[in-house]
Symmetry: C2
Subunit: 252 residues, 2 copies
């Protein structure tokens, strides 16, 4: 698998460099930045040995673009004043959780087509709701209540260390299984399509649109939808839509 | 147990602050600095939430003073061009190693009289021989060969995380056992006494004095010497010394 580290709205170029160096220390090289504050962040000097990683980092204008090709999306959170709306995994338990719950046939070190992403929030606030909602589960680092807030570079280092350890110990697995997983981009298209369908059918009209969207996304995330499911569902929804709007589907 | 974090010859005040913050994140508060470069290191701003820890940090002029009261001393090293003269433990294996090899009856979270120390070397060079020789075992962080060198604050964060995890999982143990361990200060006095004895007896005259000292220290470290052993050995050595020099021991 390939693990992308996504920094959301990072402020301090030193932190971006420190994150890059920690990634490189543990053999990861896919860095993405979403809407960075400082335009000069690539000039950081805090990434000795990881300069190329910083130069190659991709910048995205939205999280949906950054995760579009990902099969698994994981958020990091300190959980302050936040209801756990996804499974919350303490970092030292990551390996156990992935073994039991993740789409494990695909989660081997050897499977180069499996794309995962881990998200880190802005230094002061952490990840906000819209980012956490895009995650299949949340990782939290068990810190001392007397000093709970971690430096971003150090959080990245801990997560890189624990993922590397986990991938090292996950036994290589057979790659056969129920077909490749859908990506976040696939699922997002399905969410939009479902929303349109709900609207056309006047289903759940008492819920505001963003609450509907949250509900649908969460549902789809739980299903571990496969590529072939996406095609089937797209087709089904298209036909239902045409039925609702009175228009005959093409090809009938 | 209490774990002291000892930074040897740190150069960058930002790193000292980052180390302090990571310690506080995982519930450690005993920071010591040996011969720091910058006299202004306490003014670091990189330890939000851990300012008191930095203010309370003790400064030592030598490593022997910093570890004098410690029962267990652990070094960190990247092992570059260095022969492993102590057991080398990969950080993710720390818990397994401590369970099997350490003086485990004393190594519980609850035992407040057990004092351990973990040493971190200067940013550019890491711990040199004289520091590593004072350690019972060495920890190494398994980094990618393409980017092996870690930021000091991040190394401290990883070690604090792994120790906290280890202490959490080590079952509380009975505190009975073969008596309290000797401290590094106890052992150092025994080393000096033994050296004097060797000299008086003209034993190992072909070895230079520092090589003799290394040999003796390593021997004593392996023994897990107890407080009561120290007294016995002190007495024995005193009598032998007096026999060698022709002087009658007092009290006979």
């Amino acid at each position: 698998m390939n693990l992308r580290f996504i920094l959301v709205r990072p402020r301090n170029p030193l932190n971006i460099g420190a994150a890059a160096r920690a990634m490189a220390n543990f053999g990861f090289n896919d860095l993405a930045v979403v809407k960075p504050f400082a335009p000069v962040w690539r000039e950081t000097t805090s990434a000795p040995g990881a300069e190329k990683l910083v130069q190659d980092a991709r910048v995205f204008s939205s999280i949906d673009h950054a995760i579009a090709d990902c099969h698994l999306v994981v958020g990091t959170t300190a959980l302050r004043n936040r209801r756990p709306e996804r499974p919350v995994v303490s970092l030292p338990r990551l390996m156990d959780y992935l073994k039991q719950e993740a789409p494990s046939p695909f989660l081997s070190k050897e499977n180069e087509t499996f794309q995962a992403a881990i998200l880190f929030g802005p230094e002061k606030t952490g990840l906000s709701g819209p980012y956490l909602e895009r995650c299949h589960f949340w990782i939290t680092i068990p810190t001392d209540p007397a000093c709970p807030s971690m430096n971003m570079g150090q959080s990245v280092a801990l997560c890189a260390y624990e993922w590397a350890r986990t991938l090292e110990r996950l036994a290589p697995r057979a790659l056969t299984g129920p077909g490749p997983l859908a990506t976040a981009g696939d699922v997002q298209r399905l969410v939009s399509q479902t929303m349109d369908l709900f609207e056309a059918a006047d289903y759940l009209p008492f819920l505001p649109r963003d609450a509907q969207e949250k509900k649908i996304r969460r549902l789809f995330q739980r299903w571990q939808i496969r590529k072939q499911d996406i095609q089937l569902l797209h087709g089904l929804f298209r036909f239902m839509m045409q039925g609702l709007t009175g228009e005959k589907p093409r090809g009938r």
